[in-house]
């Protein structure tokens, strides 16, 4: 029994190898690229430029704009998906016939491929023929057709992208919060009933605290995912109009494959990496102080 000391190492070796080759090695390459200006023609080879990519990034107003856009998008989509997820979870927690069927239907927005989600919403957001404009006008929410994905103000497209993201993401929140709700002991609710607590009091003093650890995991997960999100935003607006929806990730891609500034793109990538690591570290610390550890 004791002689198979190599066993645990052998088990973990394939994963380590793959991760080392496909994750660690490219990161090292990206670090190196961020210190160069990458050329693709014979006349313009790779040049070592030291920290100038980083310097250019920090003084670039496009970069700072991307930071603001990323913040807006992340906060908006995480909060929105969480709240809708919470509302639907509370609803699905009640007993009614067809509950399982309803839950499956509400799962669909997440089950659909992101490309499909983007296509559907681009159709719905169409300026002239889109159903969103039609319905919103009918319900009196807007006065005239809105150019959801192209309005120069930039605010409308951001809202449009947020709505789509929230629609796509909320089922995950719903499922996890539903599971969390089921874990709250019913004795607590019974005791509350005996004490004469109202609906809002029950929610505030039993439900919300009971969901705290699930909420913590959810917020962290959603924030990381929102920060990394590319497909939906790029497909719907390509970061436009006029970079209004260009998050850090989208900008990195544009710099790499539209402007072919590979070195600068690598720099942006480095920044994103540091940012996400920092956020996770801070968040984990904050959560630990909050009481329950979640992993």
């Amino acid at each position: 029994m004791k002689k198979q000391k190599w066993f645990p190492y052998a088990l973990v070796l394939p994963a380590v190898l793959i991760v080392a080759l496909f994750i660690v090695f490219p990161i090292i390459q990206a670090v190196s690229m961020s210190f160069h200006s990458i050329g693709f023609t014979a006349s313009r080879q790779n040049q070592y430029v030291g920290l100038s990519n980083y310097h250019n990034m920090l003084i670039n107003p496009s970069f700072r704009r991307a930071l603001r856009v990323t913040l807006t998008y992340t906060v908006g989509s995480v909060l929105g998906a969480y709240l809708i997820g919470l509302a639907t979870a509370l609803l699905m927690n009640m007993r009614f016939r067809g509950r399982h069927f309803a839950r499956m239907c509400l799962l669909l927005p997440w089950a659909l491929p992101q490309v499909v989600v983007a296509m559907i919403w681009m159709l719905m957001y169409d300026y002239q023929y889109g159903i969103v404009n039609y319905l919103f006008m009918k319900f009196g929410l807007i006065e005239q057709n809105v150019n959801w994905l192209g309005d120069p103000s930039g605010i409308i497209p951001m809202i449009a992208v947020l709505l789509t993201s929230i629609w796509n993401q909320f089922p995950v929140a719903m499922l996890m919060l539903l599971a969390g709700l089921l874990m709250i002991p019913s004795e607590l609710y019974e005791a509350a009933d005996i004490d004469g607590a109202g609906v809002f009091q029950r929610f505030r003093y039993i439900t919300l605290p009971g969901l705290r650890s699930v909420t913590n995991v959810l917020i962290l997960l959603f924030t990381i995912w929102a920060f990394k999100r590319f497909d939906l935003i790029y497909l719907m607006t390509q970061g436009g109009p006029l970079q209004a929806t260009e998050t850090l990730i989208v900008q990195t891609y544009q710099q790499a494959f539209q402007f072919w500034n590979m070195g600068y793109a690598a720099t942006l990538g480095m920044f994103s990496l540091v940012l996400s690591l920092l956020f996770s570290a801070i968040y984990l610390q904050v959560v630990k102080f909050g009481g329950e550890s979640m992993l």
Binding site: F7, L11, A15, I27, L106, A111, S276
Partner: protein, 281 residues
């Protein structure tokens, strides 16, 4: 007394029903719209005011979409990539997660933390080195190169999920098996894996879903149309000036259907997967 309680219950259940139906209608509407558009002709889609309830339906969009574009080819490419990714990822992740969960050895904690941290790396960080590296070693524009890429990205999340599952399996089962004379390899294959089947399914589900719908790397690393995956194919249907929405929606439905079916039938594994096995069912 009884009558009041009965009325209250009835009221709240009717209210619940209405609320559920309204919520369902609002949140399900885009899916309904997609299916509806795929079954209509152009004049109805561009009609104003648009009809919410259709007058007539037709399937010819599906025919023209399937014959006009190589959708079947795209689907088979996607299937190859997704299944390869899932199998490789589950295998590698299960072994690694078991190792991290069950054994104590040097570097275990750092390994675990690193695997967790690599989940957070933005994909755009990798796209540039991947593109140049894959070109050099000749894996660019190959489905298996893409599958390897997806596997490497899915491993962190899969290891994290599987570790949660393994943690929740009591060690007594394994100890009992070892007392009965099984060595560690036998314990892993004959005892632990069957018991953690739910975890394996959940992990496989996530790997599959991620691979099926991935867009950015598929678009960048695949350079010829014949190797396009479904994501890239469907995205390409929307030209810069024209969009044949009926055909696009038909293609979208065809592309979405397999993964939707998989998710719906394995839906109960989703929650336990997301919470790492801590929550059953």
């Amino acid at each position: 007394m009884k009558r009041i309680i009965l009325d209250k219950r009835l009221q709240s259940s009717i209210a619940t029903y209405i609320l559920a139906i309204i919520t369902l209608i609002i949140l399900f509407f885009p899916v309904y719209w997609m299916i509806l558009t795929s079954l209509q002709n152009k004049s109805m889609t561009y009609a104003y005011p648009p009809r919410l309830i259709p007058l007539s339906l037709r399937f010819s969009n599906y025919i023209s979409a399937l014959t006009g574009k190589p959708i079947i080819r795209w689907l088979s490419n996607t299937l190859i990539v997704s299944i390869s990714t899932t199998m490789l990822c589950v295998l590698v992740s299960a072994f690694a997660a078991y190792s991290i969960s069950r054994f104590r050895y040097r570097g275990r904690l750092i390994l675990g933390m690193f695997i967790l941290a690599s989940q957070m790396f933005p994909a755009t960080l990798f796209i540039v080195p991947y593109y140049t590296a894959m070109q050099k070693i000749g894996l660019i524009n190959t489905l298996y190169g893409l599958a390897m890429t997806y596997t490497s990205f899915s491993i962190p999340l899969c290891v994290w999920m599987m570790k949660g599952f393994f943690d929740s399996i009591p060690r007594e089962i394994e100890d009992a098996a070892e007392i009965d004379g099984c060595d560690k390899v036998q314990v892993l294959f004959h005892i632990v894996l069957p018991v953690s089947l739910a975890g394996i399914v959940a992990t496989a589900l996530f790997a599959f879903i991620t691979a099926w719908q991935e867009f950015m790397f598929a678009r960048t690393l695949i350079t010829t149309m014949d190797k396009w995956t479904g994501s890239v194919g469907v995205a390409s249907l929307r030209g810069e000036y024209e969009a044949y929405w009926n055909d696009i929606m038909a293609a979208a439905v065809v592309f979405a259907l397999p993964v939707v079916i998989v998710v719906m039938s394995l839906e109960r594994y989703l929650v336990s997967g997301l919470t790492g096995g801590a929550v059953k069912g």
